[in-house]
């Protein structure tokens, strides 16, 4: 069985005696790892070897983790299925005819198949939670600023966070404890993650917990997904939790707002790939613009080109106000909606993905359909909030993920709630 979970297999041993001593870790291939390829799933960086470690990689190895591979991913994180990787798609270990989700599909597949004990992914619009849901494992998107992005190759930096993927809530929380905390090399990090004990919060004690269920994030989902989701809510109520319906009208606009902002940031971030300092070279004949265009056209795949072009378009004169400015308004609205919801509830629950994992090859022809699969995950990125996907049983033999979103730096709350779902899932 070859799932194609890794782009590069490695054997980078950590220091002895730490909390991750003896733990094998898969690291998404957009996280810089000194001396080994860091390709971002792209032909552009096929031969690129990072000259330094990302802060999270330093923390992993200092904690004793052994890095066993650089995990496959959608090219530059742009995709929800891991099919846009230049190195071929990753298969879902639960059903090899299906996608593992994305963009951190290699990370989730490696954990689900036991090829690594735990993994790191990155989540810009759901890229940790989607593959966790599709592969039947746990994934956490931390509050923006909890984890250093130093050494993470940028796609849309106002939205993304590095996050853990693991078989259980407690192991995911333990890995988050290792990587969280301020970093002088990332000015957006905050102090809240220092000396954390998220693993200790994985108690599953929901007695008295108020769980808000946003109507907008349940209505559009596949009936089989909703059935499993409702069964998990029944379990939570049986354990003393209270569920209440809430309205988040802004979330109807989350996918559009997310894609406009992410594509706009991507068009700027990926301008650095000109083939001169690193990456696929356009050669040295012809002028500056011609050789840069040659390098980029050859190095980038279709989805990356699509997003760069749309981002350039959305930021161009005459369209900026219509798309980018309105997307920022929508982002503020989403934040406000969540803030108001958390005045009345402790956490929000929804299906992580509105669909079951699609078959390989089914998703790529229709970009809008693929983007809409991110309907439930993108709001947390727009609002900078922590979110977790936890297995909530299966439908038709395929994993269903339940997502909790918490208030800013409320990682302990979502970890605790997810542990309650995990204990009663089947």
């Amino acid at each position: 069985m070859n799932l194609n979970a890794f782009i590069t297999e490695t054997d980078i041993e950590g220091e002895a005696g730490g909390p991750l001593d003896g733990t094998t870790v898969a690291v998404k291939d957009n996280i810089s790892t000194e001396g080994v390829p860091t390709t971002c799933g792209s032909r552009m960086l096929e031969d690129y070897e990072a000259p330094y470690d990302a802060t999270v990689v330093e923390r992993l190895t200092e904690a004793g983790g052994t890095i066993v591979g650089k995990a496959n991913m959608d090219e530059f994180g742009m995709g929800t299925t891991t099919e846009t990787s230049y190195f071929g798609p990753t298969k879902n270990p639960v059903d090899e005819e299906r996608v593992p989700g994305g963009s951190s599909g290699g990370s989730a597949a490696a954990v689900a198949a036991g090829e690594a004990d735990v993994a790191l992914g990155s989540d810009t619009g759901g890229s940790v939670r989607a593959p966790a849901a599709f592969c039947g494992v746990v994934g956490i998107k931390p509050t923006y600023g909890l984890v250093s992005r130093y050494g993470l190759v940028a796609y849309a930096n106002s939205l993304e966070q590095i996050g853990p993927i693991a078989p259980t809530v407690e192991e995911a929380a333990e890995l988050l404890d290792v990587i969280a905390g301020p970093d002088p090399r990332d000015g957006t990090t905050r102090d809240e993650g220092a000396d954390s004990d998220y693993a200790g919060a994985a108690e599953g004690d929901v007695d008295g917990l108020t769980v808000g269920v946003p109507r907008e994030l349940v209505e559009g989902a596949d009936d089989r997904v909703v059935e499993r989701f409702e069964a998990s809510l029944d379990d939570l109520r049986a354990q003393g939790g209270e569920t209440v319906e809430v309205d988040l009208p802004s979330c109807e606009y989350a996918v559009a707002a997310y894609y406009v902002i992410a594509m706009s940031e991507a068009s700027s971030n990926l301008a650095r790939f000109d083939g001169v300092r690193y990456g696929n070279s356009g050669g040295f004949d012809g002028n500056w613009n011609e050789t840069f265009a040659a390098a980029r056209s050859e190095g980038f795949g279709d989805e990356v080109k699509r997003r760069i072009l749309l981002g350039t378009y959305a930021l161009s004169a005459g369209y900026h106000d219509k798309y980018y400015k309105q997307a920022q308004e929508a982002r503020s609205w989403v934040k406000q909606d969540f803030d108001e919801a958390f005045e009345d509830v402790d956490v929000l629950a929804s299906p992580t993905m509105p669909v079951l994992p699609p078959k390989l090859g089914e998703s790529l022809d229709d970009p809008v359909q693929m983007y809409l699969a991110d309907a439930n995950t993108t709001p947390a990125n727009l609002a900078n909030l922590p979110a977790i996907s936890v297995p909530a049983g299966e439908a038709d033999g395929l994993p269903v993920g339940l997502q909790f979103v918490g208030p800013k730096f409320g990682e302990e709350t979502i970890v605790n709630a997810a542990a309650a779902v995990e204990e009663h899932g089947n």
Binding site: D47, Y48, E49, P51, P184, G187, T188, S250, E252, Y253, A256, A257, Y259, V260, S267, A271, D274, G275, V276, R277, Y278, G279, S281, G282, G283, F284, D285, G286, N287, W288, N289, T291, F292, A293, A294, R296, S297, F300, D302, K305, R306, I308, L309, T312, Y313, A314, S316, Y319, K322, Y323, Q326, A327, E329, A330, S332, W333, K335, Q336, P367, V368
Partner: protein
């Protein structure tokens, strides 16, 4: 009403983004962008939100610290000359 994006506009944006596109790519993007931009147009319905910006500047003294050596910084370049990156002609 959707802003229909035609082939000429796609080529113009591609030029701005330094991407060469083949003719069949241009045709495909014309079709797809129509559908994607139509979806984005719902953002026009979004109300104005009175939000307090929660951003502050984070400053620190500019101090010399350990960094990559020149050789390390150049290691991934296709070509270098006299310890510098080599690029194509500017003109």
């Amino acid at each position: 009403m959707t802003d229909a994006v035609d082939a000429e506009e796609i080529r113009h944006v591609a030029d701005l983004a330094r991407l060469d596109l083949a003719d069949d790519e241009v045709g495909e993007f014309v079709d797809q962008f129509g559908a994607i931009l139509e979806h984005f147009e719902q953002l026009e319905e979004v109300p104005e939100v009175d939000a307090d910006p929660d951003l502050v500047n984070v400053m620190r003294p500019d101090e010399v610290e350990e960094s990559l050596t020149q050789a390390e910084a150049l290691a991934n370049a296709e070509e270098t000359e006299d310890g510098r990156f080599k690029g194509p002609n500017v003109s």
